[in-house]
């Protein structure tokens, strides 16, 4: 049999090399701080802390499943609000972070009577992040 000039092994090596290069060049970070559903009683709130470095992005995805809408806020490391919205039914937001620190994502049930069931994804990423996508 005639030997192939381009062997499968070299093709595999090339593919692996390209993938590694891609990984190096695009090599991002991607970390879910919280991904799940929570039931929040009337007047209560939930706080999700995320340690974010400069140049990273903080990703929020919120969906009301049941009950009242929420007030969503993000506080930076010095406890100053960087994002605030009320009566949120659905939300997807990216916050670019220049000041590193511990950011707090707060979801609050402002209703007096009903508890709310909310789905939330909080992630910190830089570069590609499948969870967010």
């Amino acid at each position: 049999m005639r030997r192939r000039l381009v062997s499968r092994r070299s093709l595999l090596t090339a593919t692996a090399g390209t993938a590694a290069l891609a990984g190096c060049v695009g090599g991002g970070e991607c970390r879910s701080v919280f991904d799940g559903t929570e039931r929040v009683a009337a007047g209560e709130m939930r706080v999700y802390d995320a340690e974010v470095a400069a140049g990273q992005r903080l990703y929020l995805q919120f969906r009301r499943l049941d009950g009242p809408a929420a007030a969503v806020g993000v506080f930076d490391g010095a406890d100053e609000p960087v994002f605030r919205r009320q009566d949120v039914d659905r939300l997807e937001e990216i916050i670019e972070v220049d000041e590193p620190g511990r950011y707090a994502v707060v979801t609050r049930n402002e209703s007096n009577a009903d508890s709310g069931q909310w789905k939330l994804l909080v992630a910190v990423y830089r570069g590609w992040c499948t969870d967010v996508f």
Binding site: E44, D49, F75, D79
Partner: protein, 968 residues
């Protein structure tokens, strides 16, 4: 220009564009999109002006248009929205399919009307349904419209281009079937329906830069591709020639490679003996020359080492000794002497070298008994004893060579010489904050690995080197901990954890690879050295991984304890609003590393959770302290009569307290959460009614001290590692030398013993417990010799003091004259070396303490006797003037000697006061009276028996107060 050249140019353009897109994508995504569009524009131009035929230009035009439409749509959508995939995909798909069907239907004859009606229906129904179900109607409509537009533009582009070219370039035989056209369009439409929604979301999420980048990229892409095609058109002939040459070269290279492969395959089938003989005949002269060369180099190095300070020289000594050990016989004593004689005067170094030499003897012994593993551990220990840093690098290389017996020792001298050279080129970093120092061994190893020939297991070496780095970091951390510098200790411990993690990763990867290779034995093995595979088997790597994981668990345990201490140190019971940022970052980084490591090795390390809780508690306390400042500002506003502004402030504080309370609750700090939420209620009430009275009533805002008072003992990590990995015998020896090195008896013995035992302790402390397994017997032999020598020197020194008293001209009280019993005991320096180390340590410590005390007493007494001889006149004057002298002015021993030698004085031993009772005279001690007590007093004079009897009973030690007052 021929078609092929054109194709090649486009391949180059594609490659360049892809590279440019790749590079700009990360920094400025819209520029990358613009570049693509620019290239597509040029493609469009080339397809309509240069390409002949119908099919290819149509396909190129349709594709180019697709790329342009897609990049423009992505840029616009991503700039304006963060599109949800479902909404965007639905809107765009409905739009593009609907108009495409409509346009295609209009241009077809038979089934066309159905397609057109279908397209219209899809537009109406799809649009309506979509509007009903999606969340973001604006986004949906925008993408629907974009899709509708794209559905018109894509099919029309191909047809319009064909119209342009109809008169000029159209070839009669190259007409395009409906199916082909439909296929091309369908492909591009499908591509668009996927790339636009997904691409725009990806760009919105991960992209950088605004829409301004798009025209820049467009211009760049256009220039790039237009420039290249124009250039290529001008140089087509030369390019053709170049291509021919290139193809020829490639085929030549191919045939060469084939030939080489064939020769190689043929060669490996030759008689193995033949090739072995060949190799041997080549190697022999080289080996002989090498041996001579390395010996010459080694002796040269020994000479140089003598000129150099510190440990490098010692290592070369050790290496040379190793060599003689392997090619000589077991005439150990003679060579030991020669070995010791090298550095005359440097007793300390000799002592250390003796330790290393004994380990080497043990290694030799193990090698003879065919126990390679033990031999390797002993050599490790010897190398580390001789010189910690480069000894570890050498140990890593030795491990990688996987040689046993003589081979293991043979190559050490050249290796150490090379290491010495490397060390001279790049000395280890000395700055304690330099993180590079925690990878020094590995860096040295990496520089050496390239020089190692075949037959070298890089993985085993790397594991060993990384672990050695870990161990050095642990020691650095322990040192910082001893100085009470928690931050530096944590930095070093994190360095250690990271180094061990590297070792662990390499070990687990190697184990996996080895298992996989065993599972697929048909593949040719990666590296072989003769008939021995260089790579160890999976179980060896797995054992390494287990060992490192155990070490990691131990390090994590103690590091967490240090974190707790560091948090307490940094924050205190009531944390201040601001703390040292660097220290805080170190704690955060450590905690993160600890959590990750715990997960990686799948271990439970309870103190990590505790440390996490403490940190959370302290951080919340810090936030509360900040809020206290806000509260006092608000209180000030209330006082100043500005309740509205104050209410706003209070509200914000309450908000923040709620956040903190919830955070505390999530972190499992129930009590703290409750307190914070109570405080929130109080502050919120204040916000409703910010009156000065309410301000006064508000309870102060504070954080309860943590109720969980568990605090794991802050201990040096090396202690746990030693207890985990070392033979209990070694721990005993190590503890013994630790005690011995600090023992006061060494001061009595004098130089060089404090330094010698201190250095021995240091050397033993720096032995890496994870890898080195020293021969405990040899260590014990070495240390018991050192400690016995110290003890007997101390006895001699103490006896010297006693002799000084005897030689004195002053009469001494009988108790003084009696040398302490321990000094008279001839067996004091005979230690039970044959029994266990504990017995040895205990006996040594008891005797050493007794000897030290005896020496102390003897020295004090000798000083008192000397002191009295020198100060007698002054003492008399002072007694005459003031009537008494107390122990603050002169030592009690001196007062006692004075009382014994003077009349007219009384000495109260309890109060330590010598007082005058009558006329002071020198008392004479009659030889006859004192004979039985031993002291001889040449001083003549009248005997005053009363005083002598009183003091001469020999009971003065037991009597509380002795009155030396003579009878009047």
């Amino acid at each position: 220009m021929t078609g092929r050249i054109e194709g090649a140019v486009w391949v180059v353009i594609g490659g360049l564009a892809a590279t440019a897109v790749w590079i700009t994508m990360i920094a400025y995504t819209t520029v990358a999109l613009g570049l693509l569009a620019g290239v597509a524009v040029c493609g469009l131009y080339t397809a309509t002006t240069r390409l002949s035929g119908v099919r290819l230009p149509t396909a190129a035009v349709t594709l180019s248009t697709g790329v342009i439409v897609s990049t423009v749509s992505i840029t616009v959508v991503a700039t304006r929205w963060l599109p949800a995939i479902s909404t965007a995909a639905l809107g765009y798909a409905v739009g593009i399919l609907a108009t495409w069907l409509l346009v295609s239907g209009v241009s077809l004859d038979e089934l066309g009307s159905f397609a057109a009606v279908g397209g219209l229906g899809l537009a109406v129904v799809g649009g309506g349904v979509g509007l009903l179900i999606v969340d973001d109607a604006v986004l949906f409509l925008a993408l629907l419209v974009a899709g509708l537009a794209a559905g018109v533009v894509i099919p029309l582009s191909g047809r319009v281009a064909a119209l342009f070219r109809a008169g000029s370039a159209r070839a009669a035989d190259d007409s395009m079937s409906v199916a082909t056209r439909f296929g091309v369009e369908a492909t591009v439409i499908a591509l668009l329906a996927i790339t636009v929604p997904f691409g725009s979301r990806a760009v919105a999420l991960f992209g950088y830069g605004g829409p301004a980048g798009f025209p820049v990229g467009l211009a760049g892409g256009g220039l790039l591709s237009l420039g290249l095609t124009t250039l290529a058109a001008g140089h087509a002939d030369r390019l053709v020639a170049l291509r021919d040459r290139y193809v020829e070269r490639v085929s030549q290279l191919g045939s060469r490679i084939r030939g080489w492969l064939e020769r190689r395959q043929g060669g490996s089938r030759r008689d193995p003996e033949e090739s072995a003989d060949e190799a041997r005949s080549e190697e022999e002269p080289a080996a002989a020359a090498g041996e001579e060369g390395s010996l010459a180099a080694a002796s040269d190095l020994v000479n140089r080492a003598a000129d150099r300070v510190a440990d490098h020289g010692l290592v070369i000594e050790a290496a040379e000794r190793l060599e003689t050990l392997t090619d000589g016989g077991p005439e150990l004593t003679g060579r030991m002497e020669a070995f010791w004689g090298r550095f005359k005067g440097a007793v300390v170094r000799e002592g250390l070298t003796a330790g290393a030499a004994l380990q080497l003897s043990a290694a030799e012994e193990a090698g003879r008994e065919d126990d390679p593993e033990t031999a390797r551990s002993r050599v490790d220990a010897a190398l580390e004893l001789a010189a910690p840093t480069i000894g570890s690098v050498a140990a890593a290389i030795v491990r990688g060579r996987r040689e046993t017996g003589e081979g293991l020792l043979d190559a050490l001298a050249p290796l150490l010489a090379r290491l010495d050279q490397l060390l001279a080129e790049e000395p280890p970093p000395e700055d304690p904050d330099d993180l590079d120092q925690y990878q020094y061994i590995q860096q040295m190893l990496e520089r050496l690995i390239g020089e190692e020939s075949e037959g070298f297991d890089t993985a085993l070496s790397t594991i060993r080197a990384a672990a050695a780095d870990g161990w050095y970091s642990v020691q650095a951390g322990d040192g910082a901990l001893e100085d009470g510098n928690y931050q530096r200790a944590l930095t070093a411990y994190v360095g250690a954890i990271e180094a061990y993690r590297r070792a662990y990763d390499v070990a687990t990867d190697a184990a996996k690879t080895a298992t996989a290779e065993r599972a697929a034995p048909d593949d040719e093995p990666a590296t072989t050295d003769g008939d021995r595979t260089v790579e160890a088997d999976a179980s060896t790597y797995a054992a390494e991984a287990d060992r490192i994981a155990t070490a990691l668990e131990a390090v994590c345990h103690d590091t967490a304890a240090v974190v707790i201490a560091a948090v307490e140190d940094l924050y205190g019971a009531q944390p201040p609003p601001t703390v040292d940022t660097d220290a805080r970052r170190t704690i955060i980084r450590t905690l993160r590393t600890l959590r990750e490591t715990r997960t990686r090795i799948d271990a439970t390390v309870p103190p990590v959770d505790l440390a996490d809780d403490r940190y959370q508690h302290a951080e919340i306390g810090r936030s509360v302290a900040r809020l206290r400042r806000h509260l006092s500002t608000a209180d000030g506003m209330v006082e100043a009569g500005n309740p509205e502004a104050a209410a706003d402030h209070y509200e914000r504080v309450a908000d923040r307290l709620n956040v903190l309370g919830n955070r505390a609750g999530t972190a499992g700090l129930g009590e703290l959460a409750r307190r914070l939420l109570d405080a929130e209620v109080a502050v919120a009430k204040l916000a409703d009614d910010p009156s000065p009275e309410a301000v006064d009533e508000r309870p102060p805002l504070s954080v309860p001290e943590t109720t969980d008072n568990r605090a794991p003992e802050v201990a040096p990590v090396s202690r746990r590692l030693r207890r985990t990995f070392c033979d209990p015998g070694f721990v005993g020896v190590w503890e013994f030398v630790g005690e011995a090195a600090d023992h006061p008896v060494l001061e009595v013995a004098g130089e060089p013993y404090p330094d010698l035992l201190g250095a021995a302790e240091m050397a033993l402390s720096s032995l890496d417990p994870i890898y080195t397994e020293p021969d405990v017997g040899a260590l014990r032999e070495w240390l018991s010799k050192l400690s016995t020598d110290a003890l007997s020197t101390a006895v001699t020194a103490a006896s010297e003091h006693s002799r000084r008293i005897d030689a004195s001209e002053v009469a001494v009280p009988p108790a003084f004259d009696e040398p302490p019993a321990i000094l008279k005991d001839a067996s004091v320096t005979t230690l039970p070396t044959a029994e266990g180390i504990d017995t040895l340590a205990e006996t040594w410590a008891d005797r050493a303490t007794a000897v030290a005390e005896a020496a102390d007493t003897a020295e004090r007494r000798a000083a008192a006797v000397d002191g009295f001889a020198a100060l007698e006149d002054r003492l008399r004057t002072v007694l005459d003037d003031r009537g008494q002298v107390d122990a603050n002015q002169l030592s009690p021993d001196l007062l006692e000697v004075a009382a014994y030698n003077l009349t007219g004085v009384a000495y109260d031993r309890e109060a330590g006061v010598l007082s005058k009772t009558g006329e002071i005279e020198r008392r004479s001690h009659d030889e006859g009276v004192d004979a039985e007590d031993g002291p001889t007093d040449s001083e003549g004079g009248e005997a005053e028996a009363g005083g002598v009897d009183d003091a001469g009973d020999g009971t003065s030690d037991e009597t509380d107060a002795v009155d030396n007052e003579p009878p009047a």
